[in-house]
Symmetry: C2
Subunit: 336 residues, 2 copies
Amino acid sequence: MVTIKQVAQLAGVSFKTVARVVNKEPGVKPHNVEKVEAAIEKLGYRPNKAASLVRKKQSDIIGFISDEISTTPASVAILKGAQDMAWEQGKTLMVFNLDPKHPNKDRLYEECLQHRSEGIIYGAMYHQSVEFSKLFKTLPTVLVNCVSTQNDFTSIVPDDELAGYYVTKQLLYKGYKRIAFLNLNPDIMAAQHRQKGFLKAMQEYGIPENQWRIDTIEQVIEGRTVNIAGEVAKQVIEEFKPDAVLCGKDLAAIKVYLVIERLGLTVGQDIAVASFDNWHDIPEILEPKLSTMALPYYEMGRLAVSQVLQLIANKNTVYPVTHHKVPCLLFDRASF
Amino acid sequence: MVTIKQVAQLAGVSFKTVARVVNKEPGVKPHNVEKVEAAIEKLGYRPNKAASLVRKKQSDIIGFISDEISTTPASVAILKGAQDMAWEQGKTLMVFNLDPKHPNKDRLYEECLQHRSEGIIYGAMYHQSVEFSKLFKTLPTVLVNCVSTQNDFTSIVPDDELAGYYVTKQLLYKGYKRIAFLNLNPDIMAAQHRQKGFLKAMQEYGIPENQWRIDTIEQVIEGRTVNIAGEVAKQVIEEFKPDAVLCGKDLAAIKVYLVIERLGLTVGQDIAVASFDNWHDIPEILEPKLSTMALPYYEMGRLAVSQVLQLIANKNTVYPVTHHKVPCLLFDRASF
DNA sequence: TTGTAAGCGTTATCAT
DNA sequence: ATGATAACGCTTACAA
């Protein structure tokens, strides 16, 4: 690899002058700038970031540790958001995936430390509560899509309660009166919060208990989550005869559509359907197009980076831990 | 940050002894190993990868430049495969996303060069032909899910022709006689290759031309790809009355299912459906479960890393460029 | 078995 | 405006 000294030699100046040109420091004669730039071009010189990092203390690297996040299409957007923001701020994101077989957060954290990462973002696959070792206190650290069991890290999560509340209110506002909520696995936080929002809206509208019902579309059998949306939807629709179904995720909404079709009913006319995710092309592909609460993953990714940069900037001052709930947006299409 | 010298001082040995312990070089007295390890533990020392890189020439970093790949759920698996393989080989993947608004491959390549990346993987969103500047010749470079217009880079793509051939043969073998192929946008390579395979199978089975038909489910209007799978499927099924529909992607298969339902027919009984992708949960969620040709993204990611490592190892010897077509697997479920 | 000295490609400091 | 020299934290080579 070409070094600054070789450039200096070819340009016939000292290597410090080359450094000045490379780092755009002022005070180099235009004539020399030209010579240096020509030499750089000719030799194909690139500054060595590692060498630079050894001397100045800025690595401009942010570590991103993901609990399977990057294989979960729904939340790939977190990564993308983080990467975009990092790039805009002149930082490089170093992404590490947790091995699902041997999930060892600390090992990846060590990796980040060795690269002199300035801060860490930990992203989870779904809104949950995670336990962290004291190692995670080493660097400014922000959690996305999860909170720590001790609540002792800055965290960024979707505002699931508000989302549940909002979409339910919209349904009620539009005149639906018998709503079935086909919720996710009740063990996960998202499900709990959405349910809270759902109930709040019900209460606010004074809907009696026999006019709504909540079921779960996921069953955990031996640690594996099994989707039973189809069966549940069929049973609920036949027995309870709702005029609207609120579905825990778009993927399950596909099943609900299919079930409704099969019962000879029409989505949007006979039964309204609403959902959570706004996952990629799915809402647009369904007919009628699915109205769904978008999870703000991309924005959460961006916010994570801006938060971690803030923590880095205020490293020495003790800062109260903040928790951010990012609002979800309703994509109002044609299913209710 | 703690340095090797501080550790040495606390342990009461020379910094070289600490280096030996850190790098697991043999020939240090057990007693001293203990002392050093205690000091490392106490001070929380981590070796500085940047400093090490400055001296030895190995960065152990592989650059991964992605053309929107990491936002495309279907091919997130490429990244995951690459990352897994890289990790297994003791390498770190540095991932960069192309900005869709200002896609500048060269700038990201520069970034990789500055980090002294040892090789580059360029991943595309879908199987296509891409043009590269001479800059890409700087480092050992492997293309995934695309080929270069000049065919001058090692490339890894799915064997779309074989996939099209194989799934068609399976359909024919199972006795279907009137097959409608609802293909992707004919401009993309995947569509062209699959069509070739489709036709080959047809010919092999001696199916007359009026017993099959090919339509496209994507229209490019002003540069934007519009999905018209629903309309096309409806028309084709009503007019052509196929006994099997081969669909360009799982997402479109959802629409095909819906259309078939609506016509009062049953997937798997009245009309078989086959597809390409095996995208995440979709095939499992449909009823009957969708039989689909899985695109081998994960494997392609792994292969990309192993290929680039091979190129790096044989850097000095001139090597003929190789093109890898990775076979696709049929996930045989219940839709045909 | 352990330590010393030089060197990697930068940046920082200070002198010219 | 330019350059010499030291320093960063590590690895390499060699000496003790």
